[in-house]
Amino acid sequence: MGVDNSLRLGHFRDNFRVEVVRLTEDDMEFDMIGIDASLANAFRRILLAELPTMAIEKVLIANNTSVIQDEVLAHRLGLIPLKVDPRMFEYMSENDVPNEKNTIVFKLHSCCERGSSRIKVLSNELQWLPRGSELTVSTEKPAVDPTSRPRTYTSFNCSQDSLPEFSNNPIGPKHDDIIIAKLGPGQEIELEAHAVKGMGKTHAKWSPVATSWYRMLPEVVLLQEIEGEIAEELVKKCPVKVFDIEDIGKGRKRATVARPRSCTLCRECIRPDGKEKEKEQRIYWDKYVALRRVKDHFIFTIESTGALPPEMLFTEAVKILEDKCERVITELS
C-alpha cells in the first residue's frame, strides 16, 4: 500500500505548480497547475463561506428619526466590510458575555440641523469605541451603590487600544465613503453597533471575499496548417485577438495561436460562414480549429473585501481544508 501512495504523492509533487500572475492589495490572480477540479472547487467554496471575518451583528438603536427603518439600517450596517484581522478575535456564543476579545463596538451619532439641506451619513462617521459600550442597561431598581459604574451592554476588562495590534492602527470600515443613510432636516440617528466573528455560511456579510472564482485554461488547437488568406480571415474573426500571423518566408503567411489565455470561448472562430459569402466559398471552420480546456490548469481570481489580503486568505483556506480533513478521519479501525 505504501508504495502506491508515495508514487502518487511524488507524481503530484512533480506536476504541481503555482504561478502568481497579479497581486495587489485587494485582489490577486494566480494559476494552479496539476490539481483536480474538486480541489479547486473546494477552495472556492471555503473562500466564500468558511473563512471567518468580523461584521456588525447587534445594533442598539437609541434614536432613529430618519426615513430608513431600524431593521433596514441594521441590515446595511451589517454589510459594511471592516478592516480588522479576524484571527485576533474569538467566536462569541449565546452564553458568552461580550468582552474585548470577542466584540468590537462602534458608535454612530449623526443629525441634520433644521434649516440645512439633506446630508449623507457616510461610513467614516462610525466611531470605534475601544473601551466598550457606552449605553447603560436600564434596570428597574435604582443602583444600590451610587459610586459603582453603571452596567453597560459589554464588559471590557481593558481597553482594546492598549493591545499592541490596535494601538497604532485603529479599527474601522475599509471604505470611508459608503453611504449608510440620508438625513433630512431635523432627523437624527444615534446607535451603537457590536461586531462579532462569524462565517459566510451563517450570513453572507461575514464572507471575506467580494467574490472568488476560477476558470480552466482554454486550449486552442489548429487542426491543419492555415496559410494565406484564410489565415488573415481567422485572425480578423477573433474578438480578443487570440490568433496571430507569422511569416514563414517567401511571402507566405501562417496563422498561429498567440494568446490562448485571453480566449473567452465565444466560438466565433469555429462558427461556419453564413450568408455573407457565396455557397461555394463558405468555410466550415470547425475542421481547422478545435476549442478545448486544459483539464488541470486553473486560473484563480480572489477579490478581497479588505479584512485580510488575498494571499493570506488563500493560505487560511488551505489551513481550514486541512482541519476539515483531520476532523473527518475516523478513529475506529
Partner: protein
C-alpha cells in the same frame, strides 16, 4: 418557518458522532460512512482521492437531502484492502498533498514579491 437554523450547517450537536460507519451486509468489503455537518466541499475531494486508489472498486458520495446537513460516502474495495483502510489512506494522502500545496504557494508568493520589489 421550517428552515433549520444557519448554525446547524456546521455545529455537530451533542451525542452525535461526526463520522459513523456501517458495513454492508450483502456485499463483502463494502461500507458507508456518514459524516455529519459536511457538504460537497469535503465529499467531492474524498471521492476524488478514493478514485485514485487502485484497490477501490466503487466510491461515491451523496447528500441525501439539501436541508439535512450530512453526507454519505459509499466505498467498495477488493479483498486486498478494506473500506476503512481505503478511507483513512485517502484522507492521509490528502493531508500530505495539501501540505505540499501550501508550501509551494508560499514559496511562489515569496518569489513573486521578491521579483516585484526588485523592479523598483
Amino acid at each position: 418557518m421550517n428552515a433549520p437554523d444557519r448554525y446547524e450547517r456546521f455545529v455537530v450537536p451533542e451525542g452525535v458522532a461526526k463520522v459513523s460507519y456501517e458495513r454492508d451486509t450483502k456485499i463483502i468489503n463494502a461500507a458507508s460512512f456518514t459524516i455529519e455537518r459536511e457538504d460537497h466541499t469535503i465529499g467531492n475531494i474524498v471521492r476524488m482521492q478514493l478514485h485514485r486508489d487502485e484497490n477501490v472498486l466503487f466510491a461515491g458520495y451523496k447528500l441525501p437531502h439539501p436541508l439535512k446537513y450530512k453526507i454519505i460516502i459509499r466505498i467498495h474495495t477488493t479483498s486486498q484492502s478494506s473500506p476503512m483502510q481505503a478511507y483513512n489512506q485517502a484522507i492521509n494522502d490528502l493531508d500530505k498533498e495539501l501540505d505540499h500545496l501550501k508550501n509551494a504557494f508560499e514559496a511562489e508568493l515569496a518569489r513573486h514579491s521578491g521579483s516585484q520589489s526588485r523592479q523598483y
